[in-house]
């Protein structure tokens, strides 16, 4: 719990932060050990990683449970609410910058490194001496570099599944906005309906995305190893997919919380935070659709 200290709310001690630090450490330690294992040797890394990951899940569960309890007890005044809002906004900004690094890599590869390897600009001599047969192009014809790392591949056509997925995510942004308005108007049934729809749309997106990956690996030979094209393609869509997964889980949790009546017209920061996150994931997708699939 916590205490109102004079005019302020100061939360009480909590074991969750230190638990969080420990389980994060266990997870990455396991992961590092696993990655570093000699080929063929299995090591204990995987097990440690699994324990850590479960620990993280348990930690989130416990930490959020205690926060929800405090919230329901009416401990969080407007000032706390504002702090939470700022926290979420700046967190999303940090996520934007994280994606920025990978978008930057994509643009750099397309506009500089690949053309330079093909002899443009100051890449003339590299091209002449090392890879004179390489003619630079993005996509299937040269996106895997002068040595065709990962072998020949085909790209995914934007106007099939990716377009469908764009429509799905865009509609999910609409449904969550309707749910938000319904929450503010106090229509719980409508909130549940539209929030539920949003969860379903998110899950459908993921389903299609999984399909696309399988097709890419099985039929197009487009893999993470397909040169810089495959690297940027899978890292960008992969991190985005992880964010959609997380967002869908958060939406589902919020759906349950609406069902339990945790939110009212004026107090529903949890809902709004997840809604912002969902819009962010949506905007990132639009960037991906544009720069990874269409162009």
């Amino acid at each position: 719990m916590g205490q109102q200290q004079g005019a302020y709310f100061v939360p009480s001690k909590s074991q969750w932060p230190i638990v969080a630090a420990v389980v994060m450490f266990v997870t990455v330690y396991g992961a590092a050990h696993w990655l570093n294992a000699e080929p063929g040797e299995s090591g204990f890394g995987k097990t440690v990683l699994l324990i850590g990951a479960l620990g993280i899940l348990a930690m989130f569960f416990g930490w959020f449970r205690s926060v929800i309890k405090e919230s329901l007890a009416g401990n969080y005044n407007d000032q706390v609410d504002r702090s939470f809002r700022m926290g979420m906004m700046w967190f999303i900004f940090s996520e934007v910058m994280f994606f920025g690094a990978f978008f930057g890599a994509l643009w750099y590869a397309r506009s500089y490194s690949v053309p330079w390897l093909g002899g443009e600009g100051h890449g003339v001599l590299t091209h002449q001496f090392l890879w004179s047969q390489y003619s630079a192009a993005w996509g299937a014809t040269g996106g895997n570099g002068p040595e065709h790392v990962g072998g020949d591949f085909q790209t995914i056509a934007p106007w099939g599944l990716p377009l469908l997925n764009t429509l799905i995510l865009l509609s999910s942004s609409v449904t969550i906005t309707i749910a938000h308005h319904a929450l503010k108007a106090g229509h719980r049934g409508k909130v549940l309906l539209f929030l539920g729809l949003t969860v379903l749309l998110g899950a459908t997106f993921l389903w299609f995305q999984a399909h696309e990956y399988i097709e890419a690996y099985k039929e197009l030979n487009l893999t993470l190893q397909s040169g810089v094209y495959g690297s940027t393609f899978f890292m960008l869509t992969g991190f985005h997919g992880m964010h959609v997964t997380l967002g869908t889980i958060m939406l589902a949790v919020i759906w349950l919380r609406v069902l339990k009546g945790h939110f009212n017209k004026d107090h529903h920061f949890g809902f709004e935070a997840v809604a912002w996150y969902w819009h962010f994931v949506d905007v990132v997708w639009l960037g991906l659709f544009m720069f990874v699939y269409i162009l």
């Binding site: 302020y8 709310f9 450490f25 495959g230």
Partner: protein, 538 residues
Amino acid sequence: MAHAATHDHHDGHHGAPSNFFVRWCMSTNHKDIGTLYLVFSLLMFFIGGSFAMVIRAELFKPGMQLVQPYFFNEMTTLHALVMIFGAVMPAFVGLGNWMIPLMIGAPDMALPRMNNLSFWILPFAFALMLSTLFLPGGGPAGGWTMYPPLALQTDSLAYVVFAVHLMGISSIMGAINIIATILNMRAPGMDLLKMPVFVWSWLITAFLLIAVMPVLAGAVTMLLTDKYFGTSFFNAAGGGDPVLYQHIFWFFGHPEVYIMILPAFGLVSEIIPTFARKPIFGYKAMVFAIASIAFLSFIVWAHHMFAVGLPLGAEIFFMYATMLIAVPTGVKVFNWVSTMWGGSMTFETPMLFAIAFVILFTIGGFSGLMLALVPADFQYHDSYFVVAHFHYVLVTGAVFAIIAATYYWLPKWTGHMYSEFWGKVHFWNSVIWVNVLFFPQHFLGLAGMPRRIPDYNVAFANFNMISSIGGFLFGASQLIFLGVVIHCVFFSKKKAADRVWEGAKGLEWTVPSPAPFHTFEVPPVIHDEELAHGHVED
């Protein structure tokens, strides 16, 4: 305030809880967490410092004497990583934790539990990173910048990448907390333009942190996938480019160096007015200068890559953009000097360190300008001149400011005065030996000695020996600092006044010394004349 299910134990509401583990591991108190940060940072200073001693010992004489080349490279790499992410940054966060709530009249940080998590991630992250020294393949040895393809050859890469991820998460959470605190927790009447410069500097630094730590996380993630999952981001055969890594890294890296100096600017801007007994000259200009430095720091990154083969247009753009930074930096130096001008100055230890900061940081700024000139940098790049440059800005800049601030606020934290005599001994030893240590490195660099190298041409022998002697003595001088701090915390009998320094202004001096466990539980009524910047002219 009524709440259901209030069976929480009531310790911590009026004083510190008695149980050691509960107090330090589960804290939600900004002062305790600030103390944790500061103690951790001090420990890291000494660990990182001991690595530096190894480096200087090997470089004492030409030829290979003490360590294997690979171990030498591990030392240079880990020295930098430990000092940057373990010592300097946590020290600033610790100072921010302690002082920002006290300076703006807030009861605590805005998100106290996240605050605790930000801290506790760090010991684990550094345990992970330093444990690589004991791995069969050794620790990271490709330099703190982790350039591929070299960095991809070290076995410990995964450990280091994950450690960097953890540090990044910690910094981002710490920064979010600081922004929320400053924007949301100020006492009524504490307008943004009445905040102490230190608070302003942290607000802007926090923004930089949130903007660039994720970019670093992205960069090292690509290293990880290039090494273990077969991606080709930095592999020319697959269409990538090792130079891409440098762009992404320095897009983080240059703002990062400002992350390590802007809070130092803030600290010095608190200390100089106190001991000059004058308000800071040009308060608003100081704030705008910090903001414009922060803005410019995003468009100068490629000055670290002049020699890598950039297109001419890029070289010229980044050269001029870099030189522009000297303008707001010059404004700051001018204003510190003007603050002292005509003041009735006294020279207690914090002031001595602050003045040394102004002079020596400026030397580092000038050598930075020299490096910013493309044709000149072709010569200086990757030489000891660069090493001299960044140690002037980081050691006599950031670290001196941290030491000054520690002396400045130690009496407020502990309720006791430190020994002024030993403080001054520490100061004079530090300021003399640090110059013996780093000044000759300018000459070494200009004469062509490359950095990050365990052996060198005999032509460089004399200056290296001088530099090493300076290094050992500077290192030893820091033991005096340790002694002064331990003495002040545990043994000093001399009680500190609430307003420790006669000329000190600001809310932090209105609370008792030592600052009680909880302060400003009710927002203070703010009288402008008590503030350092209560009457800012428009």
